[in-house]
């Protein structure tokens, strides 16, 4: 597993922000981007961590992502911190 700690640069990272996926789309989390600690720490404690597979259930008015058997609602800001390698 490659866990990027710092902001991914567009050139070297083949991943895309979660917010570019549509409902029904899915991917494997590649990294969490943002120097702002508390938010990313929250995502991590919710289980949104590199290597975890997620699927987008809903995109509006907030994002709903499914990981395992849990649905988690995120606002745009939180969802955009998650980068994924698209699988679906």
């Amino acid at each position: 597993m490659t866990a990027h700690i710092h902001r991914c640069s567009a050139h070297s990272c083949p991943s895309q922000p979660l917010t570019t996926l549509r409902a029904g789309g899915g991917g494997i989390i590649s990294c969490l981007t943002d120097p702002e600690l508390p938010r990313t720490a929250r995502l991590a404690s919710l289980g949104l961590l590199p290597g975890v597979e997620v699927r987008v259930v809903q995109t509006y008015p907030a994002w709903v992502v499914r990981l395992g058997f849990t649905d988690i609602a995120l606002d745009d800001q939180m969802a955009s911190l998650v980068r994924v390698l698209r699988t679906a």
Partner: protein, 669 residues
């Protein structure tokens, strides 16, 4: 029901200072239940102790540690139910409560409760708990759901890998309780589990920090060093207090070790734990290639999407709030209890009972216009109780179904405009039941800014159920008045929210929330929940009602009532209201709902026209929160903030009232 609720302060004072698993001084084994929200901790607590704590299907209701007693094998045990937490590093105040329990060593044994099907997500937390240096039991709850999804957990292998007992359970049916009892009765003699070893430099970093710690702590140095690496302020505070040099040396080592990690410790640690957990899971957790659809999933989606969710929301508000609480609770039920019971039976009975007292002034204390029995008890039982009861019933059904997290998601965007996140919808909705309770629940919000904003909005623009019910009943005959009242509140809510969100420094809180599965509310659960909320409310309300009656009686007797009414009269007349309404505002100062009940009386005497009724209802709703709420504001936000809000709200309420009076008269109502 004796379950006592203790907050952080009490948890601190009860701290034991041994990192070992010896029962407390009284010989009681202290067992702490820890885990994510919504995994069944409270259900398990009820099973163990035979006592009831509110069980909810949404995160953010348990805001303090609940204690109860149980017999576990040969031990007399104290069970601590901690608020739901996702990690040892707290993000909210409720999680801090949980962290305090762990760091201050107020427990001998930890029980980590997880939702079995979500084991992959919970295992990193188990690994953190292993670091605490206390016997740990892992409870895999909701095993029935796991099986229905064709998932398999190899329990013996999991036990072996973690080195701790693992108990599969279905707590709601009591399955696995015997096993848990057996495990807990042996647990004291069990060796303290050793934490798993981490790679990628994390283990080494922890070792270095651990070696730098010199003082003795009630929690293991492993847990402390791990928290310090994650930059946790709670751990830092304890080091500063504990270390001989005020923690300077440790801080230096932590900085060095973090730098060596090449990135923020909190991610590095989380990633490494996740890596260790996934490795472990490969051996013990098996899921089918294709996920089964769960029950209630479609309904959950409808509720969370604006196209379907908003119409359903309005339907729920109409049926639940207007028809059930307003028309049935505040109308039918109040009429049933007030007229036949109080006016024709109970009050005359009290009057006869106290006829023997020759002094009229003393008799007035108990019976008469401001009598404790004829006014205090009548308002509490005949007017407030049916309204509050029907609201709590309605609220508990929604709560149990799992609706609120979907509502939070739905309103998040709108709430962001007033500086709140969707999460704040939970205290705001609860405010429609009881603002005092809701002010306490603002603790579950993540930023101080959000807590302050929601406390202000609760105090200003959210009518509590008692008030709401009475006002709905008064205004229900006048559709337009009801509309003006609702729009005035909504407008004030939005405008003040918008303005204070701009004026208060800080960033808008971000929103994230787990959506629990939709479940059919369990009638037993709903009833007990309603009952326990009503009990809380009544124990808190009735003394204040009686106190208010006594104060009014004293004011009346000494002639002070006229003086105060005299002071209020110019204010009241600026609102275009008759002098009698000043009594209502006086009553409203003691309790908001009490004031509303006074308005109800005045309306029945036909003293007010539609404009006056509307203006009085709006002003009274916006007006200063009741005494209980004010005290809760002081407790949660501090004197300064609470007093500041009081000083802001009072002129605002009367200002909006006066403006409304002028505008309504001007348009020729």
């Amino acid at each position: 029901m004796n379950t006592s609720t203790t907050t952080r302060a009490a948890a601190d004072t009860a701290a034991c200072h041994e990192p070992h698993s010896e029962p407390s001084e009284e010989g009681r084994l202290r067992v702490a239940l820890v885990g994510n929200p919504n995994v069944g901790k409270s259900v398990l607590f009820n099973r163990l102790t035979g006592r009831y704590v509110t069980v909810s299907n949404y995160p953010g209701t348990s805001v303090a540690v609940t204690r109860g007693h149980a017999h576990v094998g040969v031990h007399d045990a104290e069970i601590l139910d901690t608020p739901g937490a996702y990690a040892l590093v707290p993000g909210t105040e409720e999680e801090r409560v949980t962290q305090d329990v762990l760091l201050d060593g107020v427990c001998d044994v930890l029980v980590h409760v997880v939702d079995a099907k979500n084991l992959p997500r919970s295992l990193p937390f188990t690994l953190q708990l292993l670091e605490c240096g206390r016997p740990l039991v892992l409870v895999l709850n909701m095993m029935d759901e796991l099986r229905s999804l064709d998932l398999i957990i190899d329990v013996p292998a999991l036990e072996e890998r973690l080195g701790i007992p693992v108990v599969p359970m279905v707590a709601i049916h009591g399955d696995g309780m015997e096993h848990l009892h057996t495990v807990l009765s042996d647990v004291v003699s069990m060796p303290v589990p050793s934490p798993v070893s981490y790679g990628n430099g994390i283990g080494t970093a922890m070792d270095r920090v651990e070696a730098a710690l010199q003082a003795e702590y009630p929690v293991s140095t492993r847990a402390l060093s791990s928290l310090l690496l994650q930059g946790d302020p709670g751990a830092r505070e304890r080091i500063e207090a504990g270390e001989p040099d005020g923690g300077a040396e440790v801080a230096r080592v932590v900085d060095e070790a973090t730098r060596a990690l090449g990135g923020p410790g909190v991610y590095r640690t989380a990633f490494e734990r996740q890596r260790v957990a996934s490795e472990l899971l490969e051996e013990v957790f098996r899921s089918p290639a294709k996920q089964k659809k769960r029950r209630g999933e479609r309904l959950g989606r409808w509720l969370a999407r604006p196209m379907t969710g908003l119409p359903i929301l309005f339907l729920i508000l109409y049926v639940g709030l207007y028809q059930f609480v307003g028309v049935f609770g505040a109308g039918t039920l109040v009429d049933l209890i007030e007229g036949p019971l109080f006016e024709s039976r109970i009050n005359p009975f009290f009057e006869t009972l106290f006829q023997g007292i020759p002094w009229e002034s003393v008799r007035g204390l108990f019976v008469g216009e401001y009598g404790m029995l004829t006014l205090g008890i009548r308002y509490a039982v005949a007017i407030i109780l049916p309204v509050v009861g029907s609201f709590f019933l309605f609220f508990s059904i929604l709560e149990d179904s799992g609706y609120f997290p979907r509502l939070a998601l739905l309103v998040d965007r709108a709430f962001k405009r007033i500086g709140l996140s969707g999460r704040a919808v939970i205290p705001i909705v609860l405010g429609f039941a009881c603002d005092t309770m809701a002010t306490m629940v603002t603790r579950t919000l993540e930023t101080k800014r959000e807590r302050v904003l929601s406390t202000l909005l609760l105090a200003l623009a959210i009518p509590c159920s008692a008030q709401l019910g009475v006002i709905l009943a008064i205004l229900s005959g006048h559709g337009m008045a009801l509309g003006v009242w609702a729009l005035s509140l909504l407008g004030t809510f939005m405008v003040i929210g918008y303005l204070s969100a701009r004026l208060l420094p800080g960033e808008t809180a971000s929103f994230h929330m787990e959506l629990p599965p939709m479940r059919l509310p369990r009638p037993g659960n709903v009833m007990v929940k309603t009952y326990s909320r009503m009990q809380w409310y009544f124990l808190e309300v009735l003394p204040l009602f009686l106190l208010a009656s006594i104060m009014l009686w004293a004011l009346d007797l000494t002639g002070m009532l006229r003086v105060v009414e005299g002071i209020l009269t110019p204010v009241v007349s600026a609102l275009g209201l008759p002098a009698e309404t000043s009594t209502i505002f006086l009553l409203g100062f003691f309790r908001r709902d009490y004031g509303a009940a006074g308005l109800f009386d005045l309306n029945q005497q036909g003293l007010l026209d539609v404009v006056q009724l509307t203006v009085a209802a709006v002003t009274l709703t916006l007006f200063v929160p009741c005494v209980a709420q004010f005290l809760m504001m002081v407790k949660e936000r501090g004197w300064k903030t609470a007093t500041g809000m009081f000083l802001l709200i009072t002129p605002l309420a009367f200002g909006v009232g006066a403006f409304l009076n002028v505008s309504l008269r001007w348009i020729g109502w």
